[in-house]
Assembly symmetry: C2
Homo-oligomer: 209 residues x 2
Amino acid sequence: MELIETLEWRYATKKYSSRKVADDILERIITAINLSASSVGIQPYKILVIENQDVRKQLSAYSLNPQITESSHLLIFAAFDSINQATIENYVALIAREREIPVESLSVFRKKALNRLLLNTDEENLIWATKQAYIALGTALIAAAAEKVDTTPMEGFQAEHFDELLGLKEKGLKSVALMAVGYRDEERDTNAHLKKVRWPMEDFVETIK
Amino acid sequence: MELIETLEWRYATKKYSSRKVADDILERIITAINLSASSVGIQPYKILVIENQDVRKQLSAYSLNPQITESSHLLIFAAFDSINQATIENYVALIAREREIPVESLSVFRKKALNRLLLNTDEENLIWATKQAYIALGTALIAAAAEKVDTTPMEGFQAEHFDELLGLKEKGLKSVALMAVGYRDEERDTNAHLKKVRWPMEDFVETIK
């Protein structure tokens, strides 16, 4: 499977070259992210694509990862900080429009979604939304690698400062994961040559025949 | 990008045919999952592959998804329910073995991992481990689709009963997500023909140039 080679090729890039990722490649990566699966299909997150060096410099004060500024672009996965009735009604209306069916025909689905999500606290729904964003992060890492674009998934950052700098709170969002994209600087990046380490299959998988 | 076609092809399968997924295909899907990225690289989860119909029947009492029994195989993503010093020491020892370097040369990494994880509560680390498992779920959905294998990602199940039936607690694991795999029954599955609905790009992405 070609995908396995793609996954073997990928690694958490430490040092980026100055080469920029072209807009059309970036667009295909975003399209792939947008096609990711999510619970209820509601995709409770947005993607910020940050090229602006000033903004990235400000953000870099709240992360120890130099990739924030040294990569070509920084992607921020920002989860919905709450799920309210309007979120679900918007989504149901979108389905009706896209499939050209009356909203009423989605009443069972609508009720299920409301029951599934509105009974939770905002904190529970944020965790749930974050998990959906991580499915998308999984897609994003593969989509970039399929284009021979290097990436660094990153968690170690002060999300509240990112949110403030980017005005995410006003938009009902919280930054939950980062992904730097760009091209590796193979000479300077010692990680580029390290053997990938994974739990051996006998520890990783259990089969019940 | 071929990946976009693969993602377009994928959908949450409702009705499976009786056709089984071959062992070699399943193995490639698992290999892809094993190659997924994770924070610290520690991959704090395992995969259970359940073919046994009796076991799946017992599990199906604790989920509303008929795909549990009707698919070819059921994959369970089971996260580490805690991260202790031994988990990290095992992982550091594995890296040293695989890269043929002395454990001592990993002392900075080891210390960082200990600081990163041992200060958290078990509950915080379980959420963290679950998020890593969702990256892998993202990989798994793509890996299956790349093999033209259908899937259903599922969250709605009573995890504590799954854990009890499968003896996961004794293994330090908690079931956090499910994925049915198999082949769609295109005639019986009304979902197979629905237009995929995603947030429009202008709502989904924000670019800061």
